[in-house]
């Protein structure tokens, strides 16, 4: 087969076939186009203010490494005037996070950005190693996920930063859309498609500039730019990536690569239908999103309970939580929604499309207040992290006796 030439410059050999439009591009044109598209997303959704201090949630993995690299490039090229900081969470998992943190430390040097690491041990008094020692591997992702969501915000607050960007990509968003569709949770589906979460009431805003970037292109960008990233699965959920929604997404992509962005767009459209507002922030489509903001509803970092966990495991987690009285009140929304589904009330099924903010379901997550225990923002009296900690601390007390 004669080598194809780049569709853009028509001189270099094409090395990339773009999943979104099958365009064949050479390495240099691909890198430029990838960066331009992220720039377009940033500008059209007015993601940043001039001179804003922004923390990049950095795990050392491909997505956040590419995000840091692209933001540095665009910040310099287009004069965003951003002050970029790497913010890493140390969950306290030996043989996993300590290795990936070494990657982040190298990234800090490579990108000339300050690095702040906040640990679960200093925030919560528990490392994930200790959590797993106490509760076992089953369900540990729930703890990690709840802790991480707060940890990023708390880390940002320590730095006096009000905006955290994460490396969530189009595949992640598509996966979350599918998961929420399968659960019938359109309220959450709408939130998950929003590029910005966290509104005026929340102290730290979250956004995902790579929301429209294919995971395939992120990996190719990292490869062709020779970026230094870490890729090993968490030792406590080594096969989490085999989750059914993820597998389905990848199989769809194999058959029809545009499917991923189509699912993202469908999610945005459904969100608009359900909530009467747009979650697409792309100005070229003429919409500006307010984006309903609930900081406890961001899509999960490493997958955790959101998306990559196979159904059986979620059900088992559900059961385990139910058996433990101390944990009764702290079921995360997903678990609650699932158990509701399992009861399978016909009434629920016959409901017409919910026209308001998912009021027919779930706890009162509309009201954002502060956790009575730690003072951190929460839609419940006691935040999820404090509830989990209470259970953990009781267990520790028992073990010590």
């Amino acid at each position: 087969m004669a080598p194809a030439l780049c569709a853009n410059c028509k001189t270099e050999r094409a090395l990339i076939k773009r999943p979104k439009n099958h365009a064949k591009l050479c390495k240099a044109c691909f890198i430029t186009v990838f960066e331009d598209e992220v720039h377009h997303t940033i500008i059209s959704s007015q993601l940043f203010r001039l001179g804003e201090k922004v923390a990049i949630g950095a795990s050392g993995g491909k997505d956040s490494t590419v995000l840091a690299s692209v933001l540095k490039t665009l910040n310099e090229r287009h004069g965003y005037g951003l002050e970029l900081v790497l913010l890493s969470i140390d969950e306290g998992i030996k043989g996993y996070r300590d290795d990936s943190l070494e990657t982040v430390k190298r990234n800090a040097v490579q990108y000339d950005m300050p690095l702040k690491v906040v640990g679960y041990d200093e925030l919560y008094g528990w490392t994930m190693d200790q959590v797993v020692e106490t509760i076992g591997k089953k369900g540990n992702c729930t703890y990690c996920g709840v802790f991480r969501r707060q940890a990023l915000d708390r880390g940002a607050k320590m730095l006096g930063i009000k905006h955290v960007v994460t490396g969530h990509n189009a595949d992640d968003v598509a996966e979350t859309v599918l998961m929420n569709l399968l659960r019938g949770d359109l309220a959450r589906l709408s939130r998950s498609t929003s590029i910005v979460t966290g509104d005026s009431r929340s102290e730290v805003k979250r956004s995902k500039p790579l929301k429209y970037s294919y995971e395939k292109e992120i990996v190719l960008y990292a490869h062709h730019k020779r970026l230094d990233y870490f890729s090993t699965e968490c030792i406590y959920s080594p096969e989490a990536f085999r989750g059914s929604a993820r597998g389905l997404i990848k199989q769809l992509e194999r058959v029809r690569p545009t499917a991923i962005l189509d699912i993202v767009r469908s999610g945005e459209d459904m969100a608009r239908l359900v909530l009467g507002e747009s979650t697409s922030s792309c100005a070229c489509k003429g919409q500006k999103s307010a984006g309903l903001a609930f900081l406890e509803d961001d899509i999960g970092g490493c997958g955790s309970q959101n998306g990559r966990t196979p159904g059986g495991e979620m059900a088992a987690m559900d059961k385990q939580l139910r058996e433990n009285e101390a944990h009764e009140a702290l079921e995360v929304d997903i678990v609650k929604a699932m158990s509701e589904n399992k009861v399978g009330s016909e009434k629920e099924r016959e409901l017409p499309i919910r026209s308001s903010n998912g009021t027919s379901r779930g706890p009162a997550r509309q009201v954002l207040g502060n956790c009575k225990r730690c003072g951190y923002m929460s839609s419940q009296e006691i935040c999820q992290a404090c509830m989990l900690l209470e259970g953990l601390n009781k267990n520790r007390a028992q073990i010590q006796i």
Partner: protein, 110 residues
């Protein structure tokens, strides 16, 4: 390459990254001699290479992390001399001496 098997094998390098290293002795780069033809005498192509790697190079029993239903697992990218294999004919690409084939997983988090 001085040995006489040169006529019947093709020297290539195979790279694994994005977490796939762990299935192949935790080593990123492998220099291998690939039989020039498959069992039925057809020139070695990518499909044959994948099968060869599973039989001879993989140190991990979890082959399903690399292949599903006899094809490369969706979510694993294949680059032939740095080009997306979709540009090169995918499994049907006939392997040439000194080719570099990279398998990179997009499936692993960080």
């Amino acid at each position: 390459m001085a040995d006489t098997s040169e006529t019947t094998t093709i020297p290539i390098t195979v790279d694994f990254s994005g977490g796939l290293e762990m299935l192949f002795d935790s080593k990123r780069r492998h220099s291998i001699s690939l039989p020039a033809t498959d069992g039925s005498g057809k020139p070695a192509n990518i499909a044959f290479l994948i099968d060869h790697l599973c039989r001879n190079l993989m140190k991990d029993p979890r082959a399903e992390l690399f292949v599903l239903d006899n094809h490369i697992r969706p979510g694993i990218l294949v680059l032939i001399n740095d080009a997306d294999w979709e540009l090169e004919g995918e499994e049907a690409y006939e392997i040439q001496p000194r080719d570099n084939i990279l398998f990179v997983s997009t499936l692993h988090g960080g």
